[in-house]
């Protein structure tokens, strides 16, 4: 019998669905059974349903410079990624641990005694030269030390199937709206497959985020703190997410000009007058947040906002200056920070990283440039990334001179052979590389929403999963503890 999975090339990398030898991993058996019953036409039909759902919901992102009002829909693959309970347990503990340590580090830097720096856990100069280190944020308090209230930790799986942290996103991680919308669509497109498993829900994200935002309201705020989402505006690429989150939480979506600071108190301008705001979940970068302190030409921000935050009258979420902790060179020290602040061994290992200001490491890296991945330390979204094995000679030569001119500006990492997952491509199922971005929320304590955004590189062999670089996504199903059959009892 021939089906869509017949002839699937398992490759020699780690495949999420198939164990070596082509045996379906236990937690995928249910799904694979159903996929085998489907024809290409069935899947095509379901893809059409998916597209219709996305279009009517207006789940789109605008492409810059697009003037005709046509917005693109985000690309969701119909085959979900499934994570069994025991794997998720490791991820969850690892993410909680990491975010907890990073929050401690940031609080130490901005309102503490910079102990980790004084004790040499992280080189002082590394902190002082980080683009994301904001001296202007020095002394601004953050209740519960939840400076990274929302964070996204990018995980990849290496050839052995070990989950590793690839990078941290502690400024304005985006993608959670796709997690929720993907789930809503999948329950309609593949309702029976979904119902057959005990998939942990994700739709409590909105209330969870709102609870955390209220938990970090300044003490002066009272019992019913007012939180808002601050967006750069409708032309921002992530505007859909900003509006989505405001809707999920039932709070106001504001732009900078909707807010005004008076006597160090922030208010929004409403038809009934000024209304006090206690917590601002801002999706605007630090540089644009307050023209008094940062770029004076910013029209997106709120003049006087930092002064209001410092006076303890408003909380800015995520805190200002988090970029110092997701600097890709500081990343290399996160395992040490975990040991230093928490006295624990890291649950999730890093990817081997080379620091290019070190002459020895730099020499070695320049020698092996065609085997390594090089990243600019302060960028996000996959911008400026060079994958040695996929790069042209001229590209590598240009990279070499950029590194020599600014060794602090780059790090190099071993290429991780990202795990692959069967993915629907042009009516066929082929293996494509995936990563995973779980989202953590830190309020009074750190919580992780089950699953997260599985991004998939749609081009064959590509390792770049960023949606700004042509990536798609998958719904991520974390199974409840009792849902997975015991592999031993099952006989493999």
């Amino acid at each position: 019998m021939s089906d869509l999975l017949t002839g699937y090339d398992h490759g020699d990398l780690f495949d999420e669905v198939f164990a070596p030898g082509g045996v379906v991993r236990p937690h995928y058996r249910e799904l694979v059974g159903r996929v085998r019953d489907l024809t290409a036409e069935d899947l095509e039909h379901r893809e059409r349903i998916r597209d219709a759902i996305f279009r009517t919901q207006g789940i789109t992102f605008t492409v810059y410079g697009d003037d005709d009002g046509v917005e693109r829909t985000f690309s969701l693959d119909l085959l979900p990624r499934i994570i069994p309970a025991e794997e998720w347990d490791v991820i969850e503990r690892g993410v909680v641990q990491r975010v907890t340590a990073l929050n401690r580090f940031l609080d130490d830097l901005y309102v503490g005694e910079q102990a980790a720096v004084h004790e040499g856990v992280v080189p002082r100069w590394l902190v002082h030269t980080a683009e994301g280190f904001r001296r202007e944020a020095f002394g601004i308090p953050m209740p519960h030390g939840a400076r990274c209230l929302v964070s996204g930790v990018d995980l990849v799986r290496d050839a052995q199937g070990t989950y590793r942290v690839l990078e941290d996103n502690l400024r304005n991680p985006s993608g959670i709206s796709y997690v929720l919308e993907n789930r809503a669509a999948m329950t309609r497109v593949l309702p029976r497959a979904f119902a057959a498993q005990r998939v942990r829900p994700v739709d409590h994200y909105g209330p969870m985020l709102l609870r955390a935002l209220r938990a970090v309201a300044p003490p002066a705020a009272g019992d019913q703190p007012v939180a808002v989402v601050l967006t750069p505006g409708a032309y921002n690429a992530a505007y859909f997410e900003h509006a989505f989150l405001a809707r999920q939480m039932g709070i106001e979506l504001v732009e900078g000009r909707d807010l005004v600071v008076d006597e160090h108190v922030v208010s929004m301008r409403t038809t009934a007058g000024l209304q006090r705001v206690d917590v601002i979940y801002r999706r605007i970068d630090d540089d644009f947040l307050d023209p008094v302190v940062f770029r004076p030409d910013s029209l997106l921000g709120v003049p006087g906002l930092l002064s209001a935050a410092r006076a303890g009258n408003v909380t800015i979420v995520n805190a200002v200056g988090n970029g110092v902790a997701d600097d890709k060179a500081v990343y290399a020290f996160v395992p040490d920070l975990i040991r230093y602040y928490l006295g624990e061994e890291p649950v999730l290992p890093n990817v081997a990283t080379y620091l290019l200001w070190d002459p020895e490491q730099r020499a070695e890296v320049l020698e092996r440039l065609d085997e390594l991945v090089v990243k600019p330390v302060a960028a996000s979204g996959g911008y400026g990334l060079v994958i040695g094995p996929h790069a042209q000679d001229e590209e590598l030569a240009a990279l070499r001179s950029r590194i020599e001119a600014d060794p602090r500006g780059f790090v190099a990492q071993e290429v991780v052979a990202l795990s692959r997952h069967p993915t629907l491509v042009d009516g066929r199922i082929e293996g494509r590389h995936v990563d995973l971005r779980p989202f953590a929320i830190a309020g009074e304590r750190v919580e992780v929403i089950p699953g997260g955004l599985t991004r998939v590189a749609l081009r064959r062999g590509s390792l770049v999963v960023n949606s700004s670089q042509g990536g798609g996504s998958k719904d991520t199903w974390v199974l409840g503890a009792e849902a997975v059959p015991d592999p031993a009892a099952d006989g493999g």
Binding site: V111, E113, D262, S307, R310
Partner: protein
């Protein structure tokens, strides 16, 4: 020396402006040669003024005026006791500058910053001066300091933001330019250097000479501090070819002007505005403590603790 400081800035706008938000850095610092007796900021139209210590330890007073206004006046008044800085009694060799721990501690003040470009010209001139001095950090600092006497003080000749190379080419400028050039040269030589903003009690801006009068009208002043291994910060006033004296009142320190600009702010309305600044210093006939070390420049940790205490205090007042 006890000094009364009267700092006043007045903005006249071309029309109604609103939602003005500002930061003032005009308060004398508390450190090992200054003690603050009293300080107060008032604005017209009146606004609630709150303050904090920034990353560099400078007191920043912040205030905003939301309702439409056509002029804004800010008056800061303070009283400060100053003493002569402690003399430098050590003579570390230049090699001490390359000690990794010393460099690491001062890295922020060894690097270029927006107004302090470490250009080839700066490095060349700096090394020429340094080459004439003995193998001693203090002597080298003095050599650069003396070398800057080639520049002419030219009041009103430039605005803040003249590149250091341009100041050298023009052969002079105002005190901010002198300070930026000096900081750039010291950093080029591997000497950590910071820009200092303050007041100088003087009868003559060009020479910095003392005056017989007890009250003078001056402008805000700028000078430099260099880190001497084994001693600490050593302050020099390149504009007036002096060492810093009890007549110098420090407001704050930073990488360059941008970290200590006296007033920054934004407002809504027509862009044109006229600006008046005047600073009056009055010498008071009170015997200030003669001994050095009347305060201590706070460490980062002390600063953080002080800041927390101050925040609590302000919150309780609200």
């Amino acid at each position: 020396m006890r000094l009364d400081i009267h700092y006043r800035t007045r903005f006249a706008y071309a029309g109604h402006v609103s939602e003005s938000q500002n930061e003032l850095r005009a308060c004398p610092a508390i450190d090992d040669r200054q003690q603050l007796v009293h300080y107060d900021v008032r604005t017209t139209p009146s606004a609630r003024v709150s303050w904090y210590l920034d990353y560099w330890g400078t007191r920043v007073d912040t205030f905003g005026i939301r309702l439409p206004h056509t002029t804004l006046e800010v008056v800061a008044e303070g009283t400060v006791d100053t003493v002569v800085p402690e003399a430098v009694e050590v003579h570390p060799r230049r090699a001490a500058l390359t000690d990794p721990a010393f460099r690491d501690e001062h890295l922020e003040l060894l690097q270029p910053s927006p107004h302090v470009a470490l250009t080839a010209t700066i490095a060349e001139v700096a090394h020429r001066h340094a080459g004439q001095a003995a193998d001693d950090v203090v002597a080298m600092a003095h050599a650069v300091h003396e070398g800057l006497s080639a520049l002419q003080y030219a009041p009103g000749a430039t605005y803040v933001g003249v590149p250091v190379d341009e100041v050298l080419r023009a052969g002079g400028g105002v005190c901010q330019d002198f300070a930026h050039v000096a900081v750039a040269m010291y950093r080029s030589l591997g000497v950590p250097a910071r820009y200092v903003s303050g007041y100088l009690f003087t009868g003559d801006d060009a020479t910095g000479a003392d005056t017989d009068s007890d009250e003078v009208e001056v402008q805000t002043h700028a000078w430099v501090e260099v880190a001497v291994p084994g001693h600490g910060w050593y302050a020099l006033d390149p504009t007036n070819r002096q060492q810093v004296s009890e007549r110098h009142v420090t407001i704050g320190r930073g990488r360059d002007y941008d970290d200590v600009a006296p007033l920054r702010g934004v407002f809504l309305g027509p862009p044109e505005h006229e600006l008046e600044v005047d600073v009056r210093l009055r010498r008071l006939a009170v015997g200030a403590p003669a001994a050095a070390g009347i305060g201590r420049e706070p460490s980062r940790a002390t600063l953080a603790a002080r800041q927390r205490a101050q925040q609590q205090q302000q919150q309780q007042q609200q």
